[in-house]
């Protein structure tokens, strides 16, 4: 690889990113910073949702799983598409119709009171910081592997670049740059598949078919039904309406745009997973069979592409990381201001905007420091998924549908869901066979029912 050419391509990409971010303009008030004045059109909402969920896990991770287990992961991943479509049909329009609502915490606060809003805010903030740390780690790994930079410098570069445009431009800058990143990697990564299958795989589609059968059969043999069920549940619920998606649902022009954005993003996820797993299957005939899962895509690109192409694809991988990271930083800052500070004290719009910007920097700093100690990208993601669904989803979704939700039900559900998920994630390692998300979700639902049975209706409801 030619480091000078790689550096030129990366700098050209950064220059284009800065231009796009500057055109997104600086947020002028907190409404602009948090929901972009609710003027985002369908294509940008879809692009931002897709760019946010296509992180390292749904690109590098899926190619690696395709390499090992064929199309098995595509079946588990279809649960993710179902989740997005269900959110689009049932939840996103209802969220968008709520008045005076910038975050999920706002929605929970309207249903269960301000104390529930603060609890939801603390959980959301922790999750956004955790996810951001994982994304910064992933971006740092790409920079370190390519340029040989020390890990602390790679991590700092990723954090500083993303924070600079997110802190000033807010949600609009995040969405506009997401669209730029999405267009880049959606155009480049399928080309890898087409080049690999038609020009580099000996035997072409016929070999592809044989490899797909062999890998999928191995995947089915090596995965137990309970593990498959756990995977499907994780895909179905783990990332449902995490703060960046909720913000997009609230920032769309109309509830119809909000609904369509999630439905199209759900359908797109299936197509994307098919392309990524097919790339992994194709790689079986091109890269050595002992290549580690997380390195299959990079190794494939290195083998197939000329130097310039390799650098361009490298930029696509950095895009994938940055597009997820900026949404998470922005969502964390909005949550901190709207759900934790605002319920406790009265803020002017100017002060709220200032706090939002400072919170963006603070979350990025904490995430960057944490990123240095993260051992595994996938494990980090799975811990975050395992906590989010039980902690927030029962209270949020039931609250949107029940006519008179009880504050005690929401608070109990969030508290019990979080504690059970943490227990299964950190204290009970022997329970790895049963994914923690299932018992934690059960406990959160049971706590909700108990709270609903014995709690009082919110004053003024």
């Amino acid at each position: 690889m030619n480091p000078a050419l790689s550096a030129i391509v990366v700098f050209a990409y950064l220059a284009a990113l800065v231009f796009v971010a500057l055109r997104a303009r600086v947020a002028r008030d907190f409404d602009d910073f948090s929901v972009a004045r609710r003027t985002l059109p369908l294509a940008l909402i879809f692009g931002s949702i897709a760019a946010t969920y296509v992180g390292p896990g749904f690109s590098i991770g899926f190619v690696g799983r395709g390499f090992q287990t064929g199309f098995l992961f595509l079946c588990a991943g279809s649960a993710y598409a179902v989740q997005n479509i269900l959110v689009g049909l049932l939840v996103a329009p209802r969220l968008r119709e709520l008045k005076n609502c910038c975050t999920l915490g706002d929605a929970i606060g309207q249903k269960y009171g301000w104390s529930a809003q603060i609890i939801a805010g603390i959980i959301s903030l922790g999750l956004c910081t955790g996810f951001s740390a994982v994304m910064i780690k992933a971006g740092g790994v790409v920079l370190t592997d390519t340029f040989g930079l020390p890990p602390w410098l790679s991590v700092s570069l990723i954090a500083v670049i993303t924070t600079s445009y997110t802190a000033f431009g807010g949600l609009r800058a995040s969405v506009i740059t997401d669209a730029f990143h999405f267009a880049l990697f959606a155009a480049l990564l399928p080309i890898v598949l087409i080049c690999a299958m038609f020009f580099h795989l000996k035997g072409g589609p016929s070999t592809f078919f044989n490899e797909a059968v062999a890998a999928t059969s191995y995947g089915l043999k090596s995965t137990s039904p309970i593990q498959l069920a756990g995977l499907a549940v994780s895909f179905l619920l783990g990332e449902t309406l995490i703060p960046p998606y909720a913000n997009l649902a609230l920032a769309s022009r109309t509830s119809k745009v909000s609904k369509s954005g999630f439905i199209i993003a759900g359908i797109f996820s299936i197509v994307w997973f098919a392309v990524m797993t097919a790339t992994g299957v194709t790689a079986r005939g091109i890269v050595p069979s002992n290549t580690p899962e997380d390195h299959v895509l990079i190794e494939l690109i290195r083998t197939l592409m000329p130097v310039g192409g390799y650098s361009l694809l490298l930029v696509a991988l950095i895009s994938i990381v940055l597009s997820s990271l900026d949404s998470l930083l922005n969502a964390g800052a909005i949550v901190f201001t709207e759900d934790i500070i605002k319920p406790l004290t009265s803020l002017s719009d100017r002060t709220a905007l200032l706090i939002g910007r400072r919170a963006t920097v603070l979350i990025a700093a904490v995430a960057a420091v944490s990123a240095i100690w993260i051992q595994s990208i996938i494990d980090g993601l799975l811990i975050c998924y395992g906590i989010w669904a039980p902690a927030i989803l029962p209270a949020l979704i039931i609250g949107l549908w029940v006519r008179r939700p009880r504050p005690l039900a929401g608070i109990l559900s969030m508290g019990v869901g979080t504690i059970t998920a943490l227990l299964f994630g950190f204290v009970l390692p022997a329970s790895k066979q049963i994914p923690g998300i299932i018992p934690a979700l059960g406990a959160a639902l049971a706590a909700y029912l108990i709270g609903h049975r014995f709690g009082k209706i919110k004053a003024g409801a």
Partner: protein, 76 residues
């Protein structure tokens, strides 16, 4: 053998369609991005009005939120 050829052909077509769909989605979003950043810079309120005119229908959020009542009060 003939059955396998049919399956291989079908898979091939599906993979190519999937790759083209992903690229087409990228083009769609890139077009929206170009439209968004090509819009002339004006003050934020006139910007959102322009979008409303282009959208051709009334927005559900045109009524001021309680949080923005003080701003709405100034213009009323």
């Amino acid at each position: 053998m003939q059955f396998q050829t049919v399956i291989v052909t079908v898979i091939l077509i599906l993979v190519v369609i999937a790759a083209l769909l992903v690229i087409a989605s990228g083009v769609w979003v890139a077009t929206a991005l170009l439209r968004a950043i090509a819009r002339p810079k004006t003050d934020p309120n006139s910007n959102s009005r322009t979008e409303r005119r282009m959208d051709g229908r009334q927005q559900p959020d045109d009524s001021p939120h309680p949080r923005n009542l003080h701003k709405a009060g100034r213009s009323l």
